[in-house]
Amino acid sequence: MPEIFIDGKRYEFEGKPKLLQFILDNGKEVPFFCYHPEMSAPANCRQCYVKVGTPVQNRETGEYELDENGERVIRWFPKMQTSCSMEMTDGMVVHTQETSEEVARAQKDTMELILINHPLDCPICDQAGECPLQIQTYKYGPEGSRFEVKKVHKPKRVELGPRVTLDAERCINCTRCVRFTEEISETYQLTIASRGDKNYPITAPGMEFDDPYSLNTVDICPVGALTSTDFRFKARVWEMNQTPSIDITGGKGTNVDLWTRDNLVLRLTPRYNENVNTHWMPDEARMAYTKFNENRISRPSIKADGDNQIKTSWNNAIETFAEKLEAVKPADVLVLGSAHASVEENYALMKTFSTWGVNDFYFSPDVKEGFGDDFLLTDDQAPNTKGVKALGFSETSAEDLKAAIKSAKVVVLLNDELVDRGVLDSEDLKKPYVISLATNETETSKSTDLVIPITCIAEHAASYVNVEGRIQRSLPAKETKYTHRKLDLEMSEGRLDRYGTNFDNWVNEDNKVDCTPTWELMNNLGKRLGLSIQFGTSREIMDEIASSNSSFEGVSYEKMDDENGIQLTGMNKEEVSA
């Protein structure tokens, strides 16, 4: 196998990897800005310099020539080489900044030049704290600057499009954003304008940067030149906790991170998963965070006089729920699961009601024909359509659903905005007694007789099966009235959880929602109805599902965490149809 020597250590490689990627893959580091593993290497930042040599081979025999000590004779490239664009060859010898003064010096030189026209406004820059330029300057940069003349001034606060704002002075012209629109989203909306040190990325005159994936350029921008118009100036990076989760606005199951402070989710960013979304996520999914904070239903509510809902106690809510059920036969109760809720929630609902005597369970798929692209957007608007189906819920059309509601006496509705998305009219919900378990206040929840608040994806650990049959899970990021960051073992342990005080965590009682996970609600209801059910944590529920449902065989939270999601066997990758 071909070999390469990096800083005196021998590595073997296959194929034709590029040197920088190989160095990074082997846990070593070389600073860089313009390179991105998903895109072409333009080698324009000139930061990833290394010293490279190749062994001298005898032209006839092909054997390596040796010096008097028996060491291979190395012919060094006369110039420093950018490792991002360097193709590896057998026997190559590489020195990084770790073993070569010359390389460290060259990297420092480039860094000094990058910084001369950079405004160095880190204290007011959103990127500070997660800025490759800032981090690498501390690690590899010069100690001071010799630049004593005037910096170049360029446009600031330019609204490139509805979601992205440009500060051209901070730009270091790495062209990552331009290459993103050329190579990844293929909209070709950005280009570099002007020349030399007056360069900056911009759209064509009169055009907007409204690429459906535009915010990814904010993520890959190695400085604070491109910032999210929505998130700008909202929070410092180090004040937030970062929790791995799943996007719930579409069927793709894009892996995301939830960023929380003061018990509010402030932004979503993509999380790398090579099997799902790699480094990217659609802009639409990023705006979903508002649903975790705003319009939340806190405390149950009930229709008291006419159509007005008033807040009520949990006891009263459970009691009313049970009374309404006990007044009718199980056959008169319609139980609707939801592709917008997790596997565990649907399972708890189904198990409770089948124990009580209900035989048929339905859900209404949420599909917008033609919405998807061949990238991360899907026709399926719900995160868990395949999961609900695998649990045994049957798909139902809008007409069948309306008829079923008309003939039912009690309807139990798991978190699904049926009225808002046009499947039902609020009139349809008038006749039977409708109990909705919901996260957000919507037209649907307003049209029902009893609303019981449940936790959203940001507050519980639960699993979702994407359109490709891949099961992935969320972790709780926000506290509810009944959870505590330090006591909830599922809660991801951020830096502030580990080292901070409560004060650092900015946890504010006002931002805690009075709601409960569906399975805990089902426990209470089951106890009141005298059913022999008892759900533990969602982790235990998943173990129970895995042992009883062949579709979920072998699934557990441990395995999902280890493997970054599991492809369920027996589920094909084709799209779910309506």
């Binding site: 930042c45 310099y49 001071g144 010799r146 030399g196 040190d197």
Partner: protein
């Protein structure tokens, strides 16, 4: 040199009236080399070997053997292959290709056709700088005439050889004279130089094998075919032979383009060919081959000839043979600032060291020019040159750094006289 320059008869721009007209050109033996190549037993290898033997060193500045460059083209695979002709000459002090476009365009066209035949190219592009608007028009006219006469197009002169010929104008960017950014510009993209490898011979225009030659280099080709490699290599300097167009500008009595053999003594060119220094002033400095080549002091030019070896020994380069002559009244600080201003303005901004470095160099030089400079700024300038040289994708950073490094090195007293004493050290 005992060579009598006055007896030399020009061959690239010979003294024939109206030679730019195709009838005059053909009457004077024009397109005979093309006919010779196409009709006889000249195969592509023979043409390449002949040109290689003639040792035409690229006239665009790098001085690389043209025939050798042609031989780097891979074997034909049935797909298109291109010849791109570089007429972007934008280096300050260089204005020779313009003469060819104006006075002898068909010589260049014929040379390009022979080159395309040798490398089995299917299309030729000639890229002319946008400022040369009239000359672009002249080339278009010349190409139309050559098309009409059947020298370009399908089945040229009944030989079965097909080639198309296109003219493209630039839009005023110096960087588009760099061969790979010229390719980008020809493709309709922003003129950013490409990362090499892959080299243009493997992946050039539209990802296909491409060779890029200077206009003057190609103009030499018909002469080589007509008179033989030995004739060509017998002219001028042994290691850098052939006729060459000297573009002499600056403080001389008769600035202009002069065709003479390579290896002419620098002082003969200035004193005799260009009519001597203006107003009888003393020669202070000479930039021998376009603004990026290192400046030479006037008092070190004795015995220096205009060929690659002699100039290297003297501490400079042949470049494009665009000589800028400066007399004793020249302010070297002002001159260097103006050159740096040019490179700052023309850096494409792709690579960090050049984008930031060219601007920094200019700003420091402006400071010195305005009398605010300090001695330590000179050290910083030299340091910056080391931070730029050889650290970028193309050679523009080198072109910007060399004048600074060598002008300060060779006229340091003048710079120090303009600088104040340093009050504190650099960070």
């Amino acid at each position: 040199m005992s060579f009598d320059w006055k007896s030399y008869t020009p061959v690239i721009i010979p003294d024939i009236p109206n030679l730019h007209e195709i009838d005059v050109y053909t009457k004077n033996g024009g397109y005979d080399s093309l006919k010779k190549v196409l009709s006889n037993d000249w195969d592509s290898e023979k043409v390449i070997n002949e040109v290689k033997a003639a040792n035409i060193r690229g006239r665009g500045g790098a001085g690389f053997n043209a025939g050798l460059k042609w031989s780097f083209m891979p074997k034909p695979d049935g797909g298109p292959r291109y010849l791109a002709c570089n007429g972007d000459e934008s280096e300050p002090g260089t204005f020779k290709d313009r003469k060819i476009f104006e006075y002898n365009p068909h010589l260049f066209i014929e040379g390009a056709l022979i080159a395309a035949y040798a490398m089995q190219c299917s299309a030729i592009y000639v890229y002319i700088r946008g400022e040369y608007y009239s000359w672009i028009k002249m080339m278009e006219k010349a190409l139309k005439d050559a098309y009409d006469k059947g020298f370009i197009g399908k089945n040229i002169l009944g030989s079965g050889f097909d080639v198309e010929f296109h003219v493209t104008g630039g839009a005023g960017a110096y960087i588009c004279g760099e061969e790979t950014s010229m390719l980008e510009s020809l493709e309709g993209k922003r003129g950013y130089p490409r990362v090499k490898p892959p080299f243009p011979a493997q992946k050039g225009l539209w990802g296909r094998p491409t060779t890029i030659n200077n206009i003057e280099t190609l103009a030499c080709v018909p002469l080589v075919i007509k008179n033989g490699a030995d004739w060509f290599s017998g002219i001028g300097a042994e290691t850098h032979p052939g006729p060459v167009l000297y573009g002499i500008s600056g403080h001389v009595n008769r600035p202009g383009v002069y065709e003479l053999p390579t290896g002419m003594p620098v002082l003969t060119l200035i004193e005799e060919v260009a009519g001597g220094m203006r107003n009888g002033k003393k020669l202070k400095g000479l930039i021998p081959g376009g603004s990026s080549t290192p400046i030479l002091r006037g008092d070190t030019l004795e015995g220096v000839n205009m060929d690659a070896d002699s100039l290297r020994e003297a501490g400079s380069m042949m470049g494009t043979a665009g000589m800028i002559v400066m007399d004793e009244d020249t302010d070297m600080v002002e001159m260097l600032w103006r050159i740096s201003h040019f490179y700052h303005h023309e850096s494409c901004g792709q690579c960090t060291p050049c984008r930031e470095g060219t601007g920094w160099l200019e700003k420091i030089l402006l400071k010195i020019r305005n009398g605010d400079g300090e001695i330590r700024d000179l050290e910083l300038l030299i340091d910056l040159c080391s931070q730029m040289e050889g650290r970028t994708i193309c050679a523009l950073a080198d072109a910007a750094a060399w004048p600074v490094r060598y002008t300060i090195d060779r006229f340091r007293d003048e710079f120090e006289a303009r600088c104040k004493k340093s009050t504190y050290a650099l960070a």
